[in-house]
């Protein structure tokens, strides 16, 4: 299973691009929908996405100064954080340990990010109203 977490990658894009439009609450709502669709315990993906969203927004201002590689690395860290959070939550609710292949979606997620990064991200400041 190397399917990337499409929802999270798209969410990260919007959070890094326009944090006024898409914040921790949006991430949480999307996570709740994913919980519903995947039939997992209510709140698992929601908490994971909210936490990841928090760290994404925390460094969002500085991200404009990063170059492409650094930004991709940062996204990789965020995706790994999401997977580790989910792993911890799943272990608490009684799942077994998956193999190392569990972390492959993070890598494929970064590849997906490379595609998405072709869209404008840097330099797009949210509209400043005077």
């Amino acid at each position: 299973m190397i399917r990337p977490d499409f929802v999270l990658v798209i969410l990260l894009y919007w959070m890094l691009r326009n944090p006024n439009l898409c914040n921790v609450g949006t991430a949480w709502m999307m996570g709740l929908l994913v919980d519903l669709a995947s039939g997992s315990l209510f709140g698992q993906y929601a908490l994971t996405y909210a936490l990841t969203g928090f760290f994404a927004l925390h460094y969002q201002r500085r991200l404009v100064l990063f170059n492409e590689g650094q930004r991709a690395f940062y996204v990789l860290l965020l995706l790994l954080l999401a997977q580790v959070t989910l792993l911890v939550l799943k272990l608490f609710s009684g799942s077994g340990l998956p193999g190392w292949g569990y972390f492959l979606p993070s890598l494929s997620g970064v590849l997906l990010w490379q595609l998405i990064a072709l869209l404008p991200l840097a330099g797009v400041a949210p509209d400043v109203q005077r």
């Binding site: 299973m1 399917r3 944090p19 006024n20 914040n23 921790v24 609450g25 949480w28 996570g31 929908l33 994913v34 519903l36 669709a37 995947s38 039939g39 997992s40 315990l41 209510f42 709140g43 698992q44 929601a46 908490l47 909210a50 936490l51 969203g53 928090f54 927004l57 925390h58 939550l89 799943k90 609710s93 799942s95 077994g96 998956p98 193999g99 569990y102 979606p105 400041a125 949210p126 509209d127 400043v128 109203q129 005077r130």
Partner: protein, 303 residues
């Protein structure tokens, strides 16, 4: 006037940390409520019904692609498939004739013994819509649900054997837990020896475990595990898995047995949802339990 509120750029509402704390608390509450109290089943069903149109739209292109691909199959492959199915039908028909006589004989014997009839009632053909997104569980979603008469707990089979069990039912779809899922246990019987055991999903890979069998158990590679039918969920005699590896180690009182499920979940999309119901034992005289001893003159006296 223009200074009475900061520009929109700085308006970020509550700080992200405050939001995170709030949403984390809500999430943890939800998790606890869902895991322990099961209050959210109806909410989940409602949401799934609401998401149904979205799901149809999203899976639409894939379904259209499959329809187009099915349309453009060559005549050669159709003829080949037709020939194969015809051959299978002949063989199955021969088996079926024997089956009918055996079934009659079985019913007769059961009548003589007064044993309860276990009959397969309704079967329903479903199609796998998508596999679960969750890496920790082995689940698929099937396109028939409560509106089609599916209830939770039914067995799901395909032409080779047991696929799994319906665990959640939504209005238009239902969730099937596969035999390889860690939480699914199936009562089985080794076909060769008749020994009973319980098969558990391994949870990782396409593997079913057969734990808690002593080292001395008569089981070998290539044995077929079939359902024993004791649970009243699975019809008896369906193939579940094939023993792949038997490891007897000196340091463990149990044999390490690894099996592979026989159902072809990954290769095709149609599954059959069956309901097994035990007919009420009408012909049997069940002994009435002795009435509770009451201090009355009807109380049985010892001779």
């Amino acid at each position: 006037m223009e200074h009475n509120q900061p520009p929109a750029f700085f308006v970020r509402g509550p700080s992200p940390l405050a939001r995170l704390a709030f949403f984390a608390a809500v999430s943890i509450t939800l998790m606890a409520v869902d895991a322990r109290l099961h209050y959210l089943t109806e909410i989940r069903q409602g949401f799934m019904a609401a998401l149904q149109p979205l799901e149809v739209i999203v899976t639409g292109p894939v379904a259209a692609y499959q329809r187009v691909r099915d349309y453009f199959v060559t005549q050669d492959s159709l003829a080949e498939a037709n020939r194969r199915i015809h051959l299978q039908l002949l063989q199955k028909n021969a088996d079926l004739q024997r089956f009918h006589t055996l079934e009659q004989e079985n019913a007769h014997l059961r009548n003589l013994l007064g044993a309860a009839q276990v009959s397969v009632h309704a079967t329903k053909l479903g199609e796998i819509v998508h596999a679960g997104r969750d890496l920790f569980t082995h689940k698929v979603v099937v396109n028939v649900g409560a509106r089609h008469g599916v209830t939770a707990g039914r067995a799901v089979i395909d032409e080779y054997g047991v696929v799994g069990q319906v665990t959640r039912v939504y209005p238009f779809s239902s969730e099937v837990t596969l035999a390889t899922d860690k939480d699914l246990a199936i009562p089985v019987q080794v076909e060769r020896t008749g020994m009973r055991a319980i098969a558990f999903g391994h949870g990782r890979g396409n593997v079913v475990d057969l734990p808690y069998l002593p080292v001395s158990t008569d089981i070998q590679q290539g044995d077929i595990l079939v359902t024993s039918g004791f649970d009243g969920v699975y019809p008896a005699g369906l193939a579940v898995a094939k023993v792949n590896l038997v490891e007897r180690r000196a340091d463990s009182p149990f044999a390490h047995i690894v099996c592979t499920p026989v159902a072809g979940i990954s290769s095709h999309r149609q599954v059959l949802i069956v309901e097994v119901s035990a007919a009420p034992p009408s012909a049997i005289n069940i002994k009435q339990p002795p009435a509770p001893a009451t201090p009355s003159h009807h109380a049985p006296s010892k001779p």
